[in-house]
């Protein structure tokens, strides 16, 4: 399938790394040049990644754009890359996020400019690696390597309480990851010294082994998602991170956890995953409702959106662990949606934060009269976050809820209350910031400039594109999701496929 003249996945991973190396040799005083070089590398990466979207064969679950080379032969480790319907959109989301992060930080980052753009490029390269690795060892390398620049992004360019936030971030994720590392090594010997994910997912393991390994991997993924009760690092990290850091966190980094469930936990340990459905659904529902309620009392813009992230990620894990095609497809789509919408919301907060240097909701009010364009942008993303029909949020939430409902009526009903509370806090936020009495602090603020609009415009397009015509995106996933479900259920699920098809018709 891959008839491109260049190894596309390696390019996506290592072009940003090359960009970082180029930045390394640029003189520290050349700040504008630094930004432009970073932007050019990010745009080039995105353009080169575009064939993933066009040339992707939507009829097969097989891995595409595969690259496979020997790496550490003593341990049977391969440099093995490839994407399928689950990961291809995540890779694209990563390459587009890199551009947006650079654009939105253009004026906001004033110290250590060079290091900042190096960190952004390295993070995005490593995350693209996470999404396209098909060798567990390679995957773990990217998974951990990503922590180093991210640690710096939050800790160096973040808000006042950044050091606490970044240490919390790294310790939480590290503790989770090391358990997965033990699980990976254990699996490696269990499967006869192989790190090859495709090979590993065809084998069956005894249930009690599956059980322990499932929880070992869960430790890493649940922290990243983050699921209740290990979500507490996220509000701190989100709040203190610079805008670009929040965007990376929201758009791609926390998707790594949900992706991990889909790529590893479920296909590697299908029996354990099925047995753990009640536990996973419970945790998801708690996250949805608890985080939504916590949102209602937030005074800080970024903290509110951070908690809303936890709630929205609850929908995603609900969909994934419903273990039916609607749920999983909804979950994957919602991963994209959440990346787009929450990323956009953080960028919007960044826009206003650059002007006022305040994140307190109480410091705003009546912004709609002074920054009308900004208000319009923000409104679209608010509606998408609420899940208004016509926006992408609706499709994703609908599918995940449907999946959850099919699996467990109680979970479905409870999760629905999260939607209602979600509408409440988002609309309340919008009202407090944009309407009500005009706060004197916002008088005379300039509206969005061209750079900011350019950064946000692609996300607006995506909101409506996915919202109105989701089939184009869902089509990517069908074969892969079916293949995954066959692995879980051992083939007997024709009925659910039919239900899913019927629903697709409705949406169409």
């Amino acid at each position: 399938m891959n008839n491109l003249p260049y190894p596309i996945l390696s390019t996506i991973i290592f072009l940003p790394v090359l960009g970082a190396l180029v930045l390394l040799i640029i003189s520290r005083s050349q700040e504008t040049l630094t930004k432009w070089v970073a932007l050019i590398f990010a745009v080039a990466t995105f353009l080169l990644s575009f064939p993933l979207f066009i040339n992707f064969d939507k009829t097969t679950y097989k891995m595409q754009f595969v690259e496979r080379h020997d790496w550490i032969s003593a341990w049977n480790i391969k440099y093995f890359l490839g994407v399928d319907g689950i990961s291809v959109l995540m890779v694209l989301l990563t390459t587009i996020s890199a551009i947006l992060c650079i654009l939105i930080s253009w004026n906001a980052i004033k110290v250590k400019v060079k290091e900042f753009y190096i960190s952004i490029l390295l993070t995005c390269g490593a995350i693209a690696g996470v999404f396209s690795s098909l060798d567990l060892f390679l995957f773990y390398i990217f998974w951990e390597a990503m922590l180093i620049p991210m640690y710096l992004i939050i800790g160096v360019w973040g808000g006042p309480n950044r050091i606490y936030a970044t240490i919390k971030f790294i310790l939480y994720t590290l503790v989770g990851s090391v358990f997965m590392l033990v699980g990976i090594i254990f699996l490696y010997f269990l499967a006869g010294r192989s790190f090859d994910i495709l090979e590993l997912t065809t084998k069956t393991y005894p249930y009690n082994v599956q059980f322990w390994l499932f929880w070992a991997f869960f430790a890493a993924f649940a922290v990243k998602v983050p699921m209740f009760p290990v979500h507490t690092w996220l509000p701190d990290a989100h709040t203190e991170a610079p805008t670009a850091g929040s965007v990376i966190l929201a758009a791609i980094l926390i998707k790594m956890g949900a992706y991990g469930f889909l790529r590893f936990s479920i296909p590697l340990f299908p029996d354990a995953a099925k047995a753990m459905i009640p536990a996973m659904l419970t945790l998801s529902v708690i996250a949805i409702i608890y985080a939504a309620i916590v949102c209602l009392i937030q005074k800080d813009l970024k903290r509110l959106i951070a908690y809303s992230s936890v709630s929205h990620m609850g929908f995603i894990t609900l969909g994934i662990f419903a273990l039916n095609s609607q749920g999983i497809e909804g979950g994957i789509l919602q991963m994209i949606n959440h990346g787009v919408v929450t990323g956009a919301l953080f960028m919007c907060v960044g826009v206003i934060y650059d002007r006022t240097h305040s994140r307190q909701i109480a410091d705003y009010g009546g912004l709609a009269t002074h920054m009308p364009t900004y208000a319009a942008f923000f409104m679209v993303f608010t509606f998408a976050a609420v899940g208004l029909p016509g926006t992408n949020g609706f499709i994703g939430e609908f599918l995940t809820l449907l999946g959850g409902f099919t699996r467990s009526k109680l979970a479905g009903v409870l999760a629905c209350t999260g939607v209602i509370v979600g509408a409440a806090y988002m609309l309340w936020l919008y009202q407090q910031v944009f309407f009500m009495k005009v706060n004197e602090k916002v008088i005379g603020l300039p509206d969005m400039d061209l750079r900011e609009m350019v950064a946000l415009a692609p996300l607006i397009i995506l909101v409506f594109w996915i919202g109105v015509y989701p089939v184009q995106f869902l089509d990517f996933m069908h074969p892969s999701v079916q293949h995954l479900l066959e692995r879980v259920n051992g083939g007997g699920l024709t009925q659910e496929v039919n239900i899913a098809k019927a629903i697709m018709e409705v949406i169409r």
Partner: protein, 475 residues
């Protein structure tokens, strides 16, 4: 009398090394510029390393053996001595102890390590161990006008002498039981006579573990390490945090894997507590340190705990992983000490962790290098530290010690806090005082070599793994 002159081939590197030490001692009398001695040492060590090729074999009636295993460790010692000399050139003149004996003692200490690695007989082993230890005691107290350096030397000496006594006691018991001091013969005797369950033999093995535990600074035999590391000249701290530890592991591996081969079931209850305690005490106490040399002392204790995992696995794969770990540890630890040494300038000690505040602002390159070493010591990919840890974890899990590896990874995650605190101070705080650094070409080379080692092994570990595996073939 049938007196045959022994084959000197296998022992040539050691002979050259002795020659080098003597040349340095003589040259010290003539040469005024002591930097010349440093150059002589480095060139000399390079020549010795070259003579290692084709020196394999056993000699002196099987008392002395030069095989892949010993050669691999000697390689670590050469890297250690070269980098230590490179970083000490400027440092010892700042400390006003620019004497030629410094280089001579470093060479004799390394000679001791080489003899240890090649010892096939317990008497030779003891000889090498004492040569290494006595030279290092003197080096630890090399800053004669500094009371802390004196303290370091004295403590190191007293506890080191103590551990030597343990070793001798262990040797004497085993000689009483088996009637030989030849490591291979002991192993054969134990398995042939079936005395593996003998209590006196277990006592002897315990005494060996205690003695070597001192050398590798494993808890509870680590008491000397923090004070000795803190007080000793920084270049010597770097030297002795890698060399004697690797030498200790070399003899630990050889004695246990060959002499006590048939007692493998008894190692585990002996070494597992050592390993867990080392990782636990090392990592937890390091959290509370504000002196960076002391912090790295506790870190080195913890790393001994990780490397012990390879030995606990008690097979060739485990041994390979332990060798691999020592090799990688040499690069990352020496690199970290090279950075520390650069902060020592005239009238500024620079060994408090808060001296690192805001280092990235004034010295971005140095901070970036320190960042790499700290992440490597934590064991985060794509640095070599991760490969080292991964390998020992893999061999321990393969040997059935999954629970032990779980303990190890938890402590490893804890260690992230104090390593990354240095990164945090460098990058996320504003500098309080303008910290000057002592640049020199030689430290630059040392840093370059260490960084290259850490990154190259981290990204492409294949060569090193193959080398370590090949070194063990025929062990």
């Amino acid at each position: 009398m049938n007196l045959q002159f022994p084959d000197l081939g296998p022992v040539m590197p050691e002979i050259y090394m002795t020659g080098l030490a003597l040349i340095l001692l003589l040259a010290d009398l003539i040469v005024k510029k002591k930097e010349v001695l440093a150059v002589i040492s480095i060139v000399g060590v390079a020549i010795v390393a070259y003579t290692m090729i084709g020196s394999s074999g056993a000699t002196f009636g099987g008392m002395y053996i030069s095989d892949g295993y010993s050669s691999f460790f000697k390689l670590i010692f050469f890297i250690n001595v070269i980098i230590s000399v490179l970083i000490s050139i400027k440092y010892i003149s700042i400390e006003k102890v620019n004497f030629g004996e410094h280089y001579c003692l470093i060479i004799t200490s390394t000679l001791g390590m080489m003899i240890m690695a090649s010892a096939a007989d317990l008497i030779v082993l003891y000889l090498g161990l004492e040569l290494m230890a006595l030279s290092t005691y003197v080096l630890a107290g090399f800053i004669r006008h500094d009371i802390k350096s004196n303290e370091a030397a004295l403590k190191y000496f007293l506890l080191g002498a103590f551990s030597s006594a343990f070793l001798l006691y262990g040797i004497s018991i085993i000689y009483g039981l088996t009637g030989t001091t030849d490591i291979k013969a002991i192993g054969l005797y134990i398995s042939e006579k079936g005395i593996a369950g003998n209590l006196a033999l277990s006592l002897s093995m315990t005494l060996f573990a205690v003695a070597f535990g001192f050398k590798i600074a494993a808890v509870p035999f680590h008491m000397w390490a923090p004070d000795a590391y803190e007080g000793a000249p920084t270049s010597i701290t770097a030297f002795m945090s890698v060399g004697p530890k690797a030498a200790g592991f070399a003899v630990l591996g050889r004695v246990f894997m060959i002499a006590f081969a048939s007692m493998k079931i008894e190692w585990a209850p002996l070494l597992i507590p050592l390993s867990i305690l080392s990782m636990g005490v090392g990592n937890v106490v390091a959290l509370a340190q504000t002196n960076i040399k002391r912090m790295l002392a506790y870190s080195s204790i913890a790393h001994a705990g990780y490397a012990l995992l390879g030995l606990i696995a008690a097979n060739n794969e485990g041994l390979t992983s332990m060798m691999n770990y020592m090799f990688i540890y040499a690069f990352m630890n020496l690199g970290a000490f090279a950075v520390i040494i650069m902060l020592r300038t005239e009238g500024f000690k620079g060994d408090n962790i808060y001296d690192y505040e805001g280092l990235a602002k004034n010295h971005p390159l140095l901070a970036a290098l320190m960042l790499i070493f700290m992440f490597s010591l934590t064991g985060i990919p794509p640095t070599a530290g991760f490969i080292g840890k991964l390998y020992v974890f893999m061999s321990a899990i393969n040997a059935g010690y999954t629970w032990l590896v779980l303990v190890a990874v938890v402590f490893s995650a804890i260690s992230a806090y104090f390593y990354l605190r240095i990164v945090m101070l460098m990058y996320m705080r504003e500098p309080k005082v303008e910290v000057a650094i002592s640049k020199s070409g030689s430290i630059g080379i040392a840093l370059g070599v260490a960084t290259l080692g850490v990154l190259a092994i981290g990204v492409y570990p294949s060569c090193l793994i193959k080398l370590a595996k090949a070194a063990l073939s025929g062990f």
